[in-house]
């Protein structure tokens, strides 16, 4: 029983491991091509990402939005949806959290934080209602509707930032949130904050939800084989609707972690594309809540380690992004890794 579990685990993570190794290999060729020693560069990168507690803190800080975003993506994907609107849901969540953060005063910190997070989750939830209903009621493909809503979210948050809650000055940002709404830092002066803990707890909760409850079971059946679900009495439309809304709510929290934990306000266009990179993170983590954590940390480490590396050896920090991009390419080729390799190693049974 244990060996079969191990075997299953091995086949499950193999494509991800191979994607990372392949990316590192090609990265090494690139480093070599610009005349540096790949081993030296990677060593510097590793040291920059995990060399001491403060580099750990920075790596985890950078990983946090990817954990949230990966979870948001995975829960939608597990139900058979492709939520590419995490970015937009994150933006509305971020600004909703910030608005609660600077509009309410003189209440205890835990209550203020709870309210702000709830507002953020609600905003992401509301933003996901539109594509969810469009999908269920009239069959509009969620990829189209969520992409469009991303642009609406950019515009809406920009409007609110510049026209409604604008803090005087040249920067397109809102007022600062009250100190009581700030997510406490875990290892100051690093910005790593309690949002990271929330993300980890959320990952565990979603793991239990997916694999140990009937609702999670319904959701997985709907995503994997709606036909079988139908005969088993599972109402797929209801499941799909709820999964999309949950996904949106988590994306909203992802935004609040940034606005309440890192910037202390909402900054227009703050995201370098967290919501999109999160898709790669989720795929790298095999859409598994507990796989997403190491995948997110790896991405955080690439970004953090790359800046340190660029100071040590003559390799630009963009290598981190290149590695991420390569992983995305290899993960996109997952079908080759999983099915191709399996049949090469084990043999096609047909």
């Amino acid at each position: 029983m244990n060996t079969s579990r191990l075997k299953h685990f091995f086949w499950q993570i193999l494509p991800s491991v191979l994607a990372v190794l392949s990316a590192l290999l090609i990265g090494a060729v690139i480093i070599f091509a610009i005349g540096e020693n790949p081993l030296q560069a990677y060593a510097a990168m590793f040291q920059g990402a995990f060399g001491d507690p403060s580099s750990w803190a920075e790596t985890l800080q950078r990983a946090t939005p990817y954990i949230f975003g990966g979870l948001a993506f995975s829960i939608a994907t597990r139900s058979g949806l492709f939520n590419i609107g995490i970015e937009g849901q994150m933006y509305v969540g971020a600004i909703a959290g910030a608005i609660v953060g600077f509009s309410i005063h003189n209440i205890p910190a835990f209550l203020h934080i709870a309210l702000a997070l709830a507002a953020a989750a609600l905003a992401g939830y509301v933003w996901a209602i539109i594509p969810a209903l469009l999908k269920v009621k009239s069959g509009v493909h969620e990829v189209i509707s969520t992409i469009m809503l991303n642009y609406v979210a950019y515009a809406l948050t920009a409007y609110l930032t510049v026209r409604v809650f604008h803090e005087p000055g040249a920067v397109a940002q809102t007022y600062k949130v009250d100190p009581s709404a700030i997510l406490p830092a875990l290892m100051p002066p690093n910005k790593l904050n309690t949002g990271f803990i929330i993300a980890i707890v959320l990952a565990i909760v979603i793991y239990v939800f997916l694999f140990y409850t009937p609702w999670g079971y319904n959701l997985r059946v709907t995503g994997l084989n709606p036909g079988a679900g139908r005969y088993a009495g599972i109402k797929s439309t209801r499941i799909v609707l709820r999964a999309m809304l949950m996904s949106g709510a988590i994306a909203g929290l992802m935004g609040a972690e940034r606005s309440l934990g890192i910037y202390g306000r909402f900054i227009n266009s703050f995201s370098p594309g967290y919501g999109f990179t999160a898709i790669a993170v989720s795929l790298l983590g095999q859409n598994h809540p507990l796989g997403i954590i190491p995948a997110a940390i790896l991405f955080g480490a690439f970004e953090n380690g790359a800046s340190f590396m660029s100071l040590q050896v003559n390799v630009p920090r963009e290598l981190g992004l290149i590695l991420e991009a390569l992983i995305i390419v290899f993960i996109a080729a997952e079908h080759f890794f999983r099915d191709g390799l399996r049949s090469m190693l084990k043999g096609d049974k047909s």
Partner: protein, 511 residues
């Protein structure tokens, strides 16, 4: 000619990793004969044919065609050597006409222009020669399945095949169509063609073949002239032990009414045949068999009962209660179970393991869930119980369901659906694609249900199955019943005609 050997295969092996799909196949096919190859699912028949047809490269072994050693690297080469194959799943372009499909890939003509005239003439000649009736200008998607298969055969002949391989050709045909097909194959034989006929239906082997080769576990078990064997011997060779398919069936003891259906008419879904005014009753302890060629409203009927398809007209009463539009999950709790037609499409989740699949549809039940969480110990206990009771061969509960054979997958579904002691079982094609051993087991299980006073609705297109299990048989054609009677009062011929839409004279039907 007749004494020559059309095809000889010696010690053919093809391994996929650890799986020995073919592990020493010997085959001798005399020219101008009909040669049956029988074996259970997974015995290696398809792999063998793929190797012969150039779709696989065998690991070792030799293939001699008309005495010449060959090794094909593509189907095109096989075709040019006069081998033609009619696949189990047709390879047709639905939007093109019959003629266009026939000449597809072997288009005559100069340059980029097709010359239909000549090819039409050739095709017409072939059809005439073998008495194959085909409307060459019909669009394939409008043509019935039986005719599509005829098209596939003409396609093969058009390419000049002298050795024709047919893979499970009768699965989609009515009894009359099967007879017609056998006549055509005998015509081929007369004409000097050689036919290889792959099947698992032993009665067809006995009726048609000159020689038979039995394959089990990737090896040739033996080959015989048909005069030296009978169905019993072949079944034993296929399975490796004695098989009892003669069912012991006591007289039915029908008790209270379980399902009453009055004038059921379902909503039209896509191009699917809807149920169009069906009425019947099933009592506890009774098996009602519904037979029909696939696509005549079976899905609509089943889904209508299960609350999966909108009922436009009519009444469905389950234990006296109206269940029109009641949720499927609710019906399941009330004792309605369904063994659905397509294991991997509607019965199981391919990516799930045995344990997860064992609770599908019952996963919200109190015995599996408490405090909102799955009680894995209880689920394991239950799953192990099914595995023992239904003799399911699986490495563990954690094993992915796809590592089980079709028969074991089916037994898991049946175990699951019977575990909750249902009052009504809807069994759709319960033995589709499973081996003889599992068929035997499944028949026994269904009869045991009948003994336990369960009402069974058996929907199938296997005539033998329906006739031997059912207490009453209804024939479904285009969403209506053509007739309903006890099996003793129905001949195979009558049923076959009704399946094709011909209402026998003097037959009242049950509508």
């Amino acid at each position: 000619m007749a004494k020559e050997e059309a095809l000889v295969i010696n010690g053919l092996k093809k391994h996929f990793g650890h799986v020995k799909a073919n592990d020493g196949i010997d085959l001798i096919v005399r020219a101008g004969t009909i040669h049956a190859i029988v074996g259970e699912n997974g015995a290696g028949k398809s792999t063998l044919m793929k190797s012969l047809f150039g779709l696989h490269q065998p690991d070792s072994g030799e293939i001699y065609l008309w005495g010449e050693k060959v090794q094909f690297s593509s189907p095109l080469q096989a075709l040019s050597h006069g081998i033609g194959m009619v696949h189990q799943h047709f390879m047709l372009v639905e939007a093109l006409s019959v003629l266009e499909n026939i000449i597809l890939g072997a288009e005559p003509g100069k340059g980029i222009l097709l010359s239909y005239k000549n090819s039409r003439k050739t095709v017409e000649e072939i059809c005439k020669k073998y008495g194959l009736d085909l409307d060459l200008d019909a669009i394939v998607e409008n043509v019935p399945v039986g005719i599509q298969q005829r098209l596939e055969i003409v396609k093969v002949l058009y390419r000049g095949a002298r050795l024709i391989i047919l893979d499970e050709p009768t699965a989609v045909l009515t009894p009359q169509e099967i007879d017609r097909m056998f006549e055509i194959l005998r015509e081929f034989k007369k004409d000097g063609c050689t036919v290889i006929f792959i099947t698992h239906k032993l009665n067809e082997v006995m009726a048609l073949a000159d020689d038979v080769t039995v394959i089990r576990d990737g090896r040739t078990v033996g080959h015989w002239p048909i005069s030296e064997v009978n169905e019993k011997i072949l079944a034993r060779q296929m399975v490796g032990r004695d098989v009892v398919l003669d069912l012991v069936k006591e007289d039915a003891q029908p008790a209270e009414l379980v399902l009453q259906i009055q004038g059921l008419q379902t909503e039209q879904v896509n191009g699917d045949q809807k149920a169009d005014g069906l009425s019947f009753n099933i009592r506890a302890g009774e098996i009602l068999g519904i037979i029909g060629v696939a696509g005549n409203g079976q899905d609509a009927l089943i889904e209508g009962i299960l609350g999966l398809r909108k009922v436009e007209k009519g009444e469905i009463l389950y234990l006296g209660e109206h269940i029109n539009g009641v949720d499927t999950s609710h019906l399941r709790q009330k004792g309605v179970s369904c063994i659905s037609a397509d294991r991997l499409k509607t019965g199981l989740v391919r990516e799930f393991n045995v344990r997860e699949n064992a609770i599908l549809g019952y996963h919200t039940g109190k015995e599996f869930v408490s405090n909102l969480l799955f009680q894995n110990k209880r689920i394991d206990h239950y799953a192990n119980q099914i595995i023992t009771e239904f003799q399911i061969k699986t490495p563990s509960l954690e094993a992915p369901i796809t590592t089980l054979s079709g028969g074991n997958q089916q037994k898991l579904i049946i175990g699951r659906e019977l575990h909750a002691n249902p009052k009504l079982i809807i069994a759709v094609q319960p033995t589709r694609g499973v081996d003889i051993g599992a068929i035997e087991f499944i028949y026994q299980v269904l009869l045991e249900c009948r003994r336990q006073n369960t009402a069974v609705l058996l929907v199938s297109n296997e005539l033998e199955e329906v006739l031997s299990l059912s207490d009453r048989v209804a024939v479904l054609y285009q969403g209506r019943f053509m007739g309903c009677n006890t099996p003793d009062h129905l001949s195979k011929e009558e049923i076959g005609l009704m399946m094709a839409g011909v209402r026998p004279e003097g037959e009242g039907g049950s509508e």
